[in-house]
């Protein structure tokens, strides 16, 4: 057995010109134009005020996509295992710490330090949702979306319980931006359910494959797919937005990709 069958109960998506899943469906289905601008994110009302002041873009973005996916799925976030997947986590915070450590006074801010761990968004999410279920945080450079999808699908299938995947990336400021030129922050979340329930929006069958990754036909969306690891999800999201039966190959590691049969 090496194909993973899983149901998608709800999706959340924020990115440049992609303001929530309903709006993104219009853009992905070709009914609305992609207008590039940094994503406009809802405020993080789920955190206590003291915590809210401390959070950066990676946490705001993961909260926005996570709560949208959970809402669309009608799921209870306090019960959901989570998989966070991001290539660089909070890139602004990392840059700030590196600047401090290169300066004469190396006193790093305690808040910046605890926010620097790759699993900081997972920690804030568990506090915001009072969720004590397992949570992991992954990185696979450009392969970060497919890595997260595999981890979340195997987590859901082996536990028999739904799992929330959150894949998101933020952009480094210079000078690291020159070495890792991610143009915009973008994040996608999905509630994956091993059971078919009334909440199911689509059925996916995942299989490792050596077939070439499917590009986006629209040049603007293809540019995002190629430059933001979390946007490697766009071909799959486009099929989910359009509905029907289709197949798509998601970019993973060099000679290894992820083939997905979609029934939406």
């Amino acid at each position: 057995m090496s194909a993973l069958a899983i149901h998608v109960d709800g999706i959340g998506l924020f990115g440049p010109g992609l303001s929530g899943w309903a709006h993104a469906c219009e853009v992905l289905a070709g009914r609305a134009a992609l207008e590039l601008a940094p994503p406009q994110l809802p405020s993080v009302d789920a955190l206590p005020p003291a915590e809210r002041r401390r959070v950066g873009l990676a946490i705001k973005l993961s909260m926005a996509i996570g709560f949208e996916a959970v809402r669309n799925a009608g799921a209870n976030p306090a019960q959901l295992a989570t998989v966070f997947s991001s290539t660089g986590g909070d890139c602004d915070n990392c840059h700030n710490i590196l600047e401090t450590l290169a300066s004469a006074d190396r006193a790093v801010s305690p808040t910046r330090f605890h926010n620097s761990v790759h699993n900081a968004p997972s920690g804030y999410w568990s506090i915001a949702t009072a969720c004590m279920a397992p949570s992991t945080s992954l990185c696979a450079y450009d392969a970060t979306f497919a890595a997260g999808l595999l981890e979340a699908a195997t987590q859901a299938l082996t536990s028999g319980q739904p799992c929330l995947l959150l894949a998101f990336d933020t952009a480094y400021p210079e000078p690291l931006h020159a070495l890792r030129p991610i143009p915009y922050a973008l994040g996608v979340a999905m509630v994956l359910n091993p059971q078919k329930t009334a909440a199911a929006r689509a059925a996916l069958t995942l299989e490792l494959s050596q077939a070439a990754a499917t590009p986006m036909r629209d040049a603007g969306l293809e540019a995002l797919r190629a430059s933001i690891p979390a946007a490697r999800s766009l071909p799959l999201l486009q099929h989910l937005a359009q509905g029907g039966r289709s197949s798509v190959v998601i970019d993973y590691l060099d000679a290894l990709n992820l083939a997905v049969e979609v029934q939406a």
Partner: protein, 387 residues
């Protein structure tokens, strides 16, 4: 495995037997803090394999040093022959990867443009995935791979990822474990939280006052336990949970830790009384040890032998879970529970049966705790397969 105790299992076992600490008061890099560290010897002079030179950084040097110990390369090549390159996964934990390379590069920015030095390779050093990419290429593997980065539970949680991948039929074997190396971010970061001791750390001591930073690497090749033979060490239980409490302080009652230990016992089909030894997370900060004592005591009472081996190795952060799983495997294989070092006077407020000397006893099951920032908890149970 490799840590401040030495390269390979033999010096690690010898240090545990002799109750020797690898911690020393020393200057490292440009760090101006008065503290003791658990440095791995020989990394400054170590050269990566020539075809992988782009990955050169302290973290990947430590990875290569550990890969080349204990016949591990032979085991991986044997697995490749049996299963194929596509069927061997790589799931490794790290918290800071090769960020030291970016820390140094930021000191050498172009004064006019602010650019980093031209030879700085972010992807192959600093990015969290670097170490899994390095190990995958080192063996020419073509299976699934990723890095788990959940602070100090990272290289415990990878055992769960591999178990789920094996159970789903996507792979037949996996390289798991983790690597974390000394860097300024964690030394100055933990110092800013006033969590770094000026002395060699003293877990569960009445005067414990913080961690000693260490570094380490641990690798294991895992496959379906159905193929285990008598004497093999089997990962029988993996439990994961979230505290949902605070970013950098544990739940005061150790509630999340307790849920992780219970989940590991459930997967292993064991009762608390079956566990012969608990390798504590035991960082030696006042609040961490107090919370862990409550959670361990609530499940195991005051009879199960416990100790932290952070006094031996220092806190290897994202590599701690893997390093301590290997220490549990050594304890099972050689039938002893290691006593902690550094601790002089046990805190009378703590109730666990904390070992200050090695305890020779038959060993069947050991539990290892790893807890991280963000409230990330993971407990592993390792068991010796009997005839």
């Amino acid at each position: 495995m490799t840590s401040a105790l030495g390269a390979g299992l033999d010096p690690t076992l010898a240090a545990l037997r002799a109750r020797r600490s690898g911690l020393a008061r020393k200057r490292w890099e440009t760090v101006d803090l008065d503290t003791c560290i658990g440095e791995t010897a020989g990394l400054d002079a170590l050269a990566l394999r020539a075809d992988l030179a782009a990955f050169d950084c302290r973290n990947n040097r430590l990875a290569q040093l550990a890969l080349e110990q204990d016949g591990f390369m032979h085991s991986v090549r044997n697995a490749i022959e049996r299963f194929g390159r596509e069927r061997v996964g790589v799931f490794l934990g790290t918290s800071t990867s090769g960020i030291l390379s970016s820390e140094i590069a930021y000191r050498h920015r172009d004064p006019a443009t602010g650019a980093l030095p031209a030879d700085h390779d972010y992807r192959h050093t600093h990015n969290s995935y670097s170490v899994a990419d390095f190990v995958r290429r080192y063996f020419g593997l073509r299976g699934p791979a990723y890095v788990v980065s959940t602070a100090c539970s990272s290289s415990a949680k990878v055992f769960g990822s591999a178990q789920r991948m094996l159970a789903s039929g996507l792979i037949d074997a996996a390289i798991v474990g983790g690597v974390d190396s000394l860097c300024l971010t964690t030394l100055y970061g933990f110092n800013s939280l006033q969590l770094v001791s000026a002395h060699p750390c003293r877990p569960f001591d009445v005067q414990r006052d913080g961690i000693s930073m260490g570094e380490g690497a641990a690798f294991a090749l895992v496959e379906d336990a159905a193929s285990a033979v008598p004497g093999d060490i089997v990962m029988t239980g993996i439990g994961e949970s979230s505290d949902a409490h605070h970013m950098s302080s544990p739940h005061p009652e150790g509630l999340g830790a307790r849920i992780a230990m219970q989940a590991a016992l459930r997967m292993a089909g064991l009762q608390a009384a079956d566990i012969d030894y608990v390798n504590l997370h035991g960082t030696a900060t006042p609040s961490n040890d107090a919370a862990e004592d409550k959670s361990v005591g609530s499940l195991f009472g005051a009879n199960t032998p416990c100790s932290s081996t952070k006094g031996h190795t220092g806190h290897a952060l994202g590599a701690a879970g893997g390093v301590e799983a290997m220490i549990c495997a050594l304890a099972l294989r050689h039938d002893f529970a290691p006593g902690g070092v550094g601790t002089q006077e046990l805190d009378p407020k703590l109730n666990c049966r904390y070992l200050l000397a090695n305890l020779e006893q038959p060993m069947r099951h050991a539990l290892s705790n790893s807890f991280g920032f963000g409230g990330s908890n993971c407990s592993l149970i390792l068991s010796k397969r009997l005839a």
